[in-house]
Amino acid sequence: MKQETEINELINRVRALENDSIEFDEAAIHAEYQHIAGEKSSLAIKIITIFGGLLATLALLGFFAAASLFESEIGCMISGVIFIAASIGLNKIESKLIIDTFSISLFVSGLSLIGIAFDQFNANDNILPLAFIGICAATLMITQRYILSFISILVINGSILGLIEMHREYQLIHIYIAIITAILVAWFLKEAKIISANKKLSRLYRPFRIGFTISYVFGLFLAMKNFFNQQVVSNTWISSVFTISASLFVVYILCNVLQVKQIKDRILVYLVSLLVLSSTAMMPAIPGSILIILLSFRVNFKTGLAIGILSFIYFVSQYYYDLSFSLLTKSYMMLGTGALFLLIYLFTYKKLQAHE
């Protein structure tokens, strides 16, 4: 929790950086620090909030089931809409941490009820995901609370992936991967632009970042060649083009940070990166997870880094598992890959000594 004097010191330091040409809304800054001080929460509290919300949702749905309210589709629909409206309204009136539990359980119950209602209407299958996308997009425009925005982003992406899965139009996954790759790169690398663009976007920055990172992993999962052992996604290299070129773009930025100046060195770095990355062209998920790792490390985003590393380990294991070679061939491939990385390590060891 920052003290009044510390906040003023921060403001003054920023002012000094800008030669006094900057104007602050100091009252608003103090008010915002005051506000977050009231809800500086540990991880334990966040987890209790989410689990508490989900438990309450379960109990509420249990009530609906026991009172046989699910049988009336109009009843479900109306209560679903009321729940979501109440959840957003609560967030709007009183944006405090304790409201979150209540608001999450209302929101999730509302979505489930609407889902059940559509199921009983026997409506067209496309309507439900589209309705979810609409509801969540509207929610994001109205309220920018962290957890509600995070859930909305996940539901939107989940609905899009659900539509692709439902229609078995797996070619569309390449378009999804292309779009999310672009969004992810822009979102991580253009932080300054986004947070200074407008207040709503600035508040949505963090929930979007984590939400898109997780959605990206799900998208990559769907784009895996042998998804559930059925060869459903053809032309996987199309997705790889996007994930690999995005990774190379981050390598380019990395070269700037590390001040690799000589053209010869740069070309060597790009060639080796391209060689390593394109060896996984059949599995766009691997360069995709490398992209998450590099982007997250670049902006010091620890949760993203953890997600990136875990998904990288998973995708690499799946890759070797799915390869239709004998164990012996796989073993030689792994030894080769290991030797390659160790060679790169030895060659770059001197250059990568930190100047400390």
Binding site: G52, G62, M334
Partner: protein, 317 residues
């Protein structure tokens, strides 16, 4: 001087006309990874990938040839690895952590050895025998190394032995099993905290993990007990849980451990919710439970935030 964090930049940017380029520059200087941390990261990344793939390749190589190897070679390879790891762990030149990690690796290999042994000779033993033998064989290493990760492996093994023994041999009732598991882990936790008081070298993650396991076992046991109806073990478990939770809460308040003050009340909320559903056993029971969870979780969070504020305030003075 106060450190500028990314949150500060976000808040100030939101309420000022701070130019984008300057924000970019400040983020790059204060928040983003600089050249030095990139170098460390890349070194680590390349080394881990290199070693990881090489080790995986070696394992796959053996896996491919495994079926063709004779018994002697199979057991010999693993015993050889155990011997090498243990001998290396005795070299005083290595740092203590490295030696402890080697001993932990040897302890894991013991498990592999027993698995291979069981596979070759088709011992037909219950799986609990296997875990029991593994547990007994590494006991001395656990005591000698006094290394928290190795202790954690040991405790997990003991819990597994009890669980499998009750499944395969004793066929205990669920509530009985969870009463034993709760009491046992309570014993572990108390000893760990007690030793920690004297020497203060027990890491927080270690005691927190045991505490979390203990609370999970107690919660599952209590919920099962509530639905299965009265029985002697339910009464015993309720008694034990009540005492442990009281002690845990007092410990949490005295030692400023928000973790204990979060998991214990949350467990109580789950237990009471289960009781509501059991007692009312109709639709209104669910509604009541829902209202109860929302209300109690809200109160819990408010109280936790208040307590944390108080602690920060005290620390500041």
């Amino acid at each position: 001087m106060t450190k500028i964090e990314s949150e500060d930049i976000h808040i100030i940017a939101r309420h000022s006309n701070w130019p984008t380029e300057s924000i970019e520059k400040t983020l790059a200087e204060k928040v983003y990874s600089n050249a030095d941390s990139w170098k460390k990261f890349l070194k680590f990344f390349l080394l881990t990938l290199g070693l990881g793939f090489t080790v995986a390749g070696v394992i796959f190589f053996f896996a491919y040839n495994w079926a063709h190897l004779n018994k002697f070679a199979k057991i010999g390879i693993i015993q050889g690895l155990i011997t090498i790891a243990t001998l290396l762990a005795m070299i005083p030149k290595f740092s203590l952590t490295v030696r402890n990690i080697l001993l932990t690796a040897a302890s894991l290999l013991i498990g592999v050895l027993f698995a291979v042994f069981g596979q070759i000779y088709q011992t037909g033993a219950n799986a609990y025998d296997f875990f029991l033998a593994w547990t007994i064989c590494i006991t001395i290493w656990v005591l000698v190394s006094n290394f928290s990760p190795l202790w954690m492996l040991y405790l997990i093994l003991i819990n597994t032995v009890i669980y499998l023994y009750s499944e395969q041999v004793a066929s205990l009732k669920t509530i009985e099993l969870y009463t034993y598991l709760t009491s046992l882990n309570a014993l572990f936790l108390l000893s760990a905290l007690f030793v920690g008081l004297a020497k203060k070298n027990i890491p927080l993650w270690f005691t927190n993990t045991i505490a979390l396991a203990l609370v999970c076992f107690a919660t599952i046991g209590m919920v099962v007990g509530i639905f299965e109806g009265r029985n002697l073990y339910f009464i015993i478990l309720s008694f034990i849980t009540a005492i442990l939770y009281t002690m845990g809460t007092i410990y949490g308040i005295q030692n400023k451990r928000a973790f204990y003050l979060s998991i214990i009340p949350f467990s109580i909320i789950i237990i009471i919710s289960a009781a509501f559903i059991k007692i009312f056993d109709n639709n209104w029971g669910f509604l009541l439970t829902c209202v109860f969870i929302v209300a109690s979780v809200s109160v819990l969070i408010t109280r936790l935030i208040d307590i944390q504020k108080k602690w920060i305030h005290e620390a500041g003075n």
